[in-house]
């Protein structure tokens, strides 16, 4: 199915815009125009045109958010003039503690690094994109390599900042796991996460949505 096939001629441009809006709304990182073009099966030029039109629309409607092109991609973000309200929200409206679930995610990255999102997600049984994003934004973890296999998944590890916060000199100072042996379903989950068969990945991702977890509050 492509956009052209799906939409009637009159609303074709509208359909591209709606799909772009939907994808940008859920994207964690800026989405490159060529990726959008590939996903929606239209030219990059069309995507760029639609995004510009959308950005102008939001500007004209005086929205509290903007659509910007940043770091090689498009993303939604809060309007610069709403900074003071967002600051209030950051300072007063957010929990200052990691949830138990977020701590588990951080622990998995710390002990299993390098590890991919999919692997962590397989162990935790939930979608961890949001948590990984927060941990990365806070500088506790970062991309440290790429999986050499097909798909080239991003592999995460902990940062120098993390070590400092935990009062550790080197990673080996983490409390040892002893003779801990993970249960069979954990091993299986890891294997599944490591399997880089793209077809399987697609099939899994397209079944009805993984539950996701939030890192805070």
């Amino acid at each position: 199915m492509s956009m052209e096939e799906q939409a009637t001629v009159g609303s074709w441009s509208g359909e591209v815009r709606r799909a772009v809006e939907a994808i940008l709304m859920v994207a964690i990182d800026p989405v490159p125009a060529n990726l959008l073009a590939q996903l929606l099966e239209v030219s990059t030029k069309i995507i760029e045109g639609e995004c510009e039109a959308l950005a102008a629309e939001f500007e004209a409607e005086n929205r509290g958010f903007v659509l910007v092109r940043v770091a090689g991609g498009y993303r939604f973000q809060s309007h610069p003039d709403q900074g003071p309200w967002v600051e209030r929200f950051v300072l007063e409206g957010q929990s200052s503690r990691l949830t138990a679930a977020a701590l588990e995610t951080l622990a998995i990255v710390a002990y299993k690094q390098p590890v991919s999102r999919a692997q962590v997600s397989a162990i935790r049984g939930v979608d961890v994109d949001g948590v990984i994003r927060t941990l990365q934004q806070r500088g506790y973890i970062d991309e440290i390599s790429r999986d050499p296999g097909p798909g080239n998944a991003v592999m995460f590890g902990t940062t120098q900042e993390f070590l400092e916060r935990m009062g550790l000199d080197v990673l080996d100072d983490l409390p040892p796991l002893g003779d801990f042996v993970p249960g069979p379903e954990v091993v299986e989950a890891l294997e599944r996460g490591l399997r880089s068969d793209p077809e399987v990945a697609t099939a899994e991702a397209s079944s009805d949505g993984a539950p996701s977890e939030s890192p805070e509050g």
Partner: protein, 252 residues
């Protein structure tokens, strides 16, 4: 392997409701036999689950046996009450099981439609990151260690669970008293009428036993026009309500 039944209720529910298409074909014998066959085919049955299956199977077999027994007069009322109670609890649990099965279907639908939307989880923009509170405040390396073990913990092994729903305690004696005050007044009433205010099936069963008791004592007449027809209960002309023995022996 045969279809995996989560438990004895699911299996029994399935066996009975499959028959629903041909209501007149529903036969306790068939159901009991199929239940036993399915049970035999279940592999990897752990002890707890096996016990549950056996418990249900024994109730079923007893019901079937009772059905085949001629001459119900010789049955001990207490014994019969016990069987009825078991059957009734079984029914109640099957109904409960079915209720939640149907509720689960709706949850599946809700989850599926909710999954058509993805939430925004992009989080803070760079310019706000500096002011965000330090989430690792107070977290130690040991906390991290424990969190890792929690995350990797295998599922707990199966544990023994013998809790069952406590039977509702209702007494035949109380039911007899209620009937003695009601039936003579109305002359002749249907059993349906006598149980119209009752909710719990076990209460209805007890009330039925009370009617049987009054019949045994010769103060009421029972008439049923055809199978499944209303049961008419009439006060026998001349019988004295004050003569009724209150059957304390059948309490609870």
């Amino acid at each position: 392997m045969t279809p995996v039944y989560e438990g004895p209720f699911e299996l029994l529910l399935n066996l009975i409701l499959k028959e629903e298409v041909e209501l007149y074909e529903v036969s306790l014998s068939t159901i009991v036999d199929r239940f036993l066959v399915e049970m035999e085919q279940l592999e990897d049955l752990d002890l707890e689950l096996a016990t549950e299956f056996l418990l249900i199977a024994s109730i079923l077999v007893e019901l079937k046996t009772r059905r085949l027994l001629p001459g119900r007069d010789r049955l001990d009322l207490d014994e019969e009450f016990g069987l009825w109670e078991q059957r009734d609890l079984l029914l109640a649990r099957l109904l409960e099981c079915k209720t939640f099965k149907d509720a689960a279907v709706v949850l599946r639908g809700l989850a599926a439609s909710a999954a058509m939307s993805w939430p925004r989880r992009s989080g803070l923009e760079e310019r706000f990151l500096g002011m965000a509170p330090d989430l690792l405040e107070g977290v130690t390396a040991d906390d991290l260690h424990d969190a890792f073990l929690r995350a990797m913990a295998p599922r707990p092994s199966v544990h023994v669970d013998t809790e069952h729903i406590a039977p509702i305690r209702v007494s035949v004696a109380d039911a007899v008293v209620a009937l003695v005050s009601e039936i003579p007044r109305s002359g002749s009433v249907t059993f349906r009428h006598l149980t119209r205010s009752l909710v719990d099936r076990i209460e209805i069963v007890v009330r039925f036993l009370a009617v049987l008791e009054l019949y045994k004592q010769g103060v009421v007449e029972i008439d049923q026009l055809g199978a499944f027809g209303d049961i008419h209960v009439g006060w026998r002309p001349g019988a004295d309500p004050s003569d009724v023995d209150l059957v304390d022996a059948y309490e609870g």
